[in-house]
């Protein structure tokens, strides 16, 4: 089975710096594979290990994507081929432009049985792109997938919703967004890291693709700022557990929250 797995390269949310004026700086941030997508990559690799075929990794984004370390990183996690749309026109792309660009790239990739995506991205976590992509391609599309099996040209999946788990049979090809607990992504082995440099990489720019409905953004970002901080009392309670417990209860009682 041929699987396309979509991933996003994001500024590491751990490296986001809040400046004293409330603005946000990403200048120091390392760009990494969005951690939610690691589960999608692992799921794709496991399915191909079990059923044969190949995994094509696909990402669209700004110039950081073309960084050779970033390319090796994704390929060392098991995909056989890498396809990238690298274009600074995709910096801060909204979910619609991202999904339409992915759809245009998918159209160039040939036959596939399944597209996997992560649950959301570690930077924006809008959880939209996979669903929009599926609809643009006119394919069966589901999120919250916590289990996928392939048998007889069909996908048997479990979908973990708030109140129930649905066991679904989904016709292929389909687009599925997986949960974070679908698997535990393995760490790349030395062998895989060495192999990664030899795997095929294809790079396009937006000019190479026919993106439906143009490149205009559908949302205007007005500001990105650190959230308002509330000043807290920061009272430390010391002493033995029993004393500390009593002291806390005293404070809470005075606050009127007991």
């Amino acid at each position: 089975m041929n699987i396309i797995v979509c991933y996003k390269l994001v500024p590491d949310p751990e490296d986001v710096v809040a400046k004293p004026d409330g603005s946000i700086s990403l200048d120091q941030a390392e760009w990494i594979i969005s951690d939610y997508d690691l589960m999608a990559i692992e799921a794709a690799v496991q399915l191909v290990e079990a059923n044969g075929g190949k995994v094509m990794a696909l990402s669209v984004g700004p110039s950081q994507l073309a960084n050779s370390k970033a390319k090796k990183d994704v390929l060392s996690r098991g995909p056989d081929e890498l396809y990238l749309v690298v274009d600074d026109g995709l910096r801060d792309a909204d979910t619609s432009l991202t999904a339409r660009t992915l759809a245009a790239a998918v159209a160039k990739l040939g036959e596939f049985d399944l597209i996997l995506t992560g649950e959301g991205s570690a930077d924006l976590y809008f959880q939209q792109v996979g669903m929009q992509l599926g609809e643009l391609l006119g394919l069966p599309t589901f999120n919250a997938i916590s289990k996928v099996e392939w048998s007889g040209g069909k996908l048997a999946v479990e979908r973990s919703l708030e109140d129930e788990v649905e066991a679904l049979e989904v016709p292929a090809p389909a687009v599925l967004a997986v949960t974070t607990d679908i698997n535990q992504p393995r760490l790349p082995s030395m062998k895989e890291i060495l192999k990664a440099g030899k795997k095929p990489v294809v790079e396009w720019t937006l000019g190479d693709l026919a993106v439906q409905d143009g490149l205009a953004q559908r949302v205007e970002v007005l500001s990105v700022r650190s959230p308002k901080q509330v000043n807290r009392k920061q009272i430390r309670i010391e002493g033995k557990p029993e004393e500390a417990a009593q002291a806390l209860i005293g404070h809470l009682s005075k606050e009127g929250v007991l």
Partner: protein
């Protein structure tokens, strides 16, 4: 023409909040309802001025199968926008509708701000480290909205309004539902809780949560969680986790037990009145965001608290 704001939510309680929100955003609020006559009446009681009625859902269909119906309806009626309840299924439906209509979905909106004729929205980004303010530049605004951003209106069963029946549009593809495995019902409504006790990874074993539940019972608090306890460890249902990708709480008292205080979690608690941290690491970031902090082993502090609270009763 009157500007209509629509809502679509699979959970009635969420629909009630979205209707209250929609009424502040448009001249009229309409609910798109899937269900029986009682569900239609309920939408009116919750504040809908109009109901687009999809009828009752046959068992073999998924809510997802209504996406083509909803897309056709939105294209035909052109409301100002639609608020979709941000359940997992709701997010999938919103995303697919966004693609069908050629708009970007404003995801997990925390606040709507009317600016003249345009509507601005804010949501969390970078795992809670930043708030992003933005504005849709498309005709129809699609947004997903979770519990807790607006309070539901008191129900008024005497309210009535126009019902528009909507015909089902056959989807191009369908999945076959093989089985439905209900999860243990979770009646947690963290967004509404007045007190929240929140265990974190400082809890070593699932069994030890029993003492957290006992503490919560004595405090008359709901039990929340950090994400690792619900996803990954699976010790508690996901509805219980607080933070950027989970629930936002605004209780009078938040008590974090063995919670480090990463931004992804703490953005969900900033509106708490009093924040208390119990952590053995005096450097844990949650302390600087707390009103009261006890540095110590939770396995000693929590039993001491339980005893002291019992003695008080």
């Amino acid at each position: 023409m009157a500007k209509e704001m629509w809502v679509f939510a699979e959970k009635p309680a969420l629909q009630a909040e979205l209707l209250a929100c929609a009424k502040t955003l448009g001249d009229a609020a309409a609910a798109v309802v899937l269900g029986n006559q009682a569900a239609v009446d309920q939408a009116f009681a919750q504040g809908a001025d109009k109901v687009f009625w999809l009828g009752e859902k046959p068992d073999h269909l998924l809510l997802d199968d209504y996406v083509p119906t909803l897309a056709a309806l939105l294209k035909e009626q052109k409301p100002a926008g639609m608020l979709v309840g941000a359940t997992r299924r709701g997010k999938a439906i919103a995303g697919r509708l966004g693609a069908a209509l050629g708009v970007t979905v404003l995801a997990d909106v925390k606040k709507f701000i009317a600016e003249g004729d345009s509507l601005q929205v804010s949501h969390m980004v970078f795992g809670g480290a930043a708030v992003r303010l933005e504005k849709a530049v498309t005709d129809i605004m699609l947004a997903t909205v979770s519990f807790g951003i607006v309070e539901a209106l008191p129900p008024d069963p005497s309210r009535k309004g126009e019902v528009v029946k909507v015909a089902f549009v056959e989807p191009k593809w369908k999945a076959v539902l093989r089985e439905r495995k209900p999860r243990p019902p979770s009646s947690v409504n963290l967004a509404a809780a007045k007190k929240v006790v929140c265990p974190g990874r400082g809890i070593a074993k699932k069994e030890d949560l029993e003492m957290i539940f006992e503490l919560a019972r004595l405090l008359e608090a709901e039990v929340g969680a950090t994400r690792p306890l619900t996803e990954g460890l699976d010790w508690l249902p996901r509805e219980r986790y607080i933070g950027v990708s989970g629930a936002f709480v605004k209780p009078d008292l938040y008590l974090g037990v063995g919670v480090s205080g990463q931004a992804q979690h703490t953005v969900g608690i900033t509106e708490s009145r009093v924040i208390v941290a119990i952590n053995k690491d005096g450097e844990a970031p949650l302390f600087s965001q707390s009103d009261y902090g006890i540095v110590g082993d939770l396995y000693q502090i929590v039993p001491a608290l339980i005893n002291a609270l019992k003695a008080r009763k």
